[in-house]
């Protein structure tokens, strides 16, 4: 199965990188761009008996390594 993990700083944690990108977009004339957040996407294959089992494994991977729960939240997608 294919796993896709998106990791972002939690809402409320200042994303200075997102802020800088937002300022740059404003500089290019897109004054309507707001709330820019810069995150990370991690994709990989995962061996599991079912999509639910794969999701359980990947969420555990996020808690242990792929995200830092102190500052980051994550979203998991599992595809066949």
């Amino acid at each position: 199965m294919k796993a896709k993990v998106e990791v972002f700083l939690k809402p409320g944690v200042l994303d200075v990188q997102g802020k800088a990108v937002e300022n740059a977009l404003h500089g290019l004339g897109w004054s309507g761009a707001a709330n820019v957040r810069v995150g990370r996407v991690i994709t990989f294959d995962v061996a599991a008996a079912s999509a639910d089992a794969a999701r359980g494994d990947v969420e555990a991977m996020c808690e242990r390594l792929l995200a830092n729960p102190v500052i980051e939240s994550y979203r998991v997608e599992i595809a066949p």
Binding site: L65, L66, N68, V70
Partner: protein, 220 residues
């Protein structure tokens, strides 16, 4: 007295730490590769040095926190051996869960490399006792992701329990509550973002790192 400095792939302050400890305290210092699962016996201090362990891949300190040696470091701290993480070492200790909180990218987005003045907030810890009446210490910082972050409850607890060892007088990176260094709940683990290892003789601009090492290992 005996100390060990852990060397991760990408550590670049490991030799500075060794020299700083030797000159400050006269202790013998072993270098320990991150792949070792055991530490030398009879250690009084373990230092996780600055640098860019594992290229800062994923997050600063995330890979290093899973190194074989970290099991031994964790066990030593539980036995009461002093563990000090400096700069990248502080990031590793946070990622390993041995200290609360995490490091964010600096508020100004810049890598900040300069001398900073620190308040010695608590001179009663085993890492700061030798500062005595000295209330200010000057050391250099060198980091891009050094803005300390923790939730407000954790910050309140750190403050209330006297676990903030050092504070920036002029916050260089957006660290929460000007925090530059904290100790663990049991007091055996220190994380400090500025470099005591770069401040061990006047020719370097400051010798204010010396009391930190002397607090743990005694005077030379």
């Amino acid at each position: 007295m005996k100390a060990a400095v852990v060397v991760f792939p990408g550590s670049n302050c490991d030799r500075d730490c060794k020299t700083a400890i030797e000159r400050s305290t006269g202790a013998s210092v072993d270098m320990v590769w991150h792949g070792e699962s055991e530490l030398p016996s009879g250690l009084d201090l373990i230092v996780l040095p600055g640098g860019f362990a594992h290229g800062d891949y994923l997050r600063c300190g995330a890979m290093a926190a899973l190194s074989p040696v970290m099991g031994a470091v964790r066990a030593a701290a539980a036995r009461g051996v002093a563990v000090a993480g400096i700069c990248n070492g502080f990031q590793v200790l946070c990622e390993a869960g041995m200290l609360p909180g995490a490091m964010l990218r600096n508020a100004g987005l810049k890598y900040v490399c300069k001398a900073v003045a620190l308040d010695v907030v608590n001179a009663q810890t085993r890492f700061t006792a030798a500062y005595g009446e000295q209330r200010v210490a000057v050391m250099t910082v060198g980091n891009g992701e050094g803005a300390y972050f923790a939730d407000p409850e954790t910050l309140d607890r750190l403050e209330g329990d006297g676990r903030i060892a050092f504070r920036y007088r002029d916050n260089p990176n957006g660290s929460a509550r000007d925090i530059a260094g904290i100790v663990s709940e049991d007091g055996h683990v220190l994380g400090v973002m500025p470099h005591p290892d770069r401040a061990f003789e006047a020719a370097l601009g400051s010798a204010d790192g010396v009391p930190l090492f002397q607090s743990i290992l005694g005077r030379a």
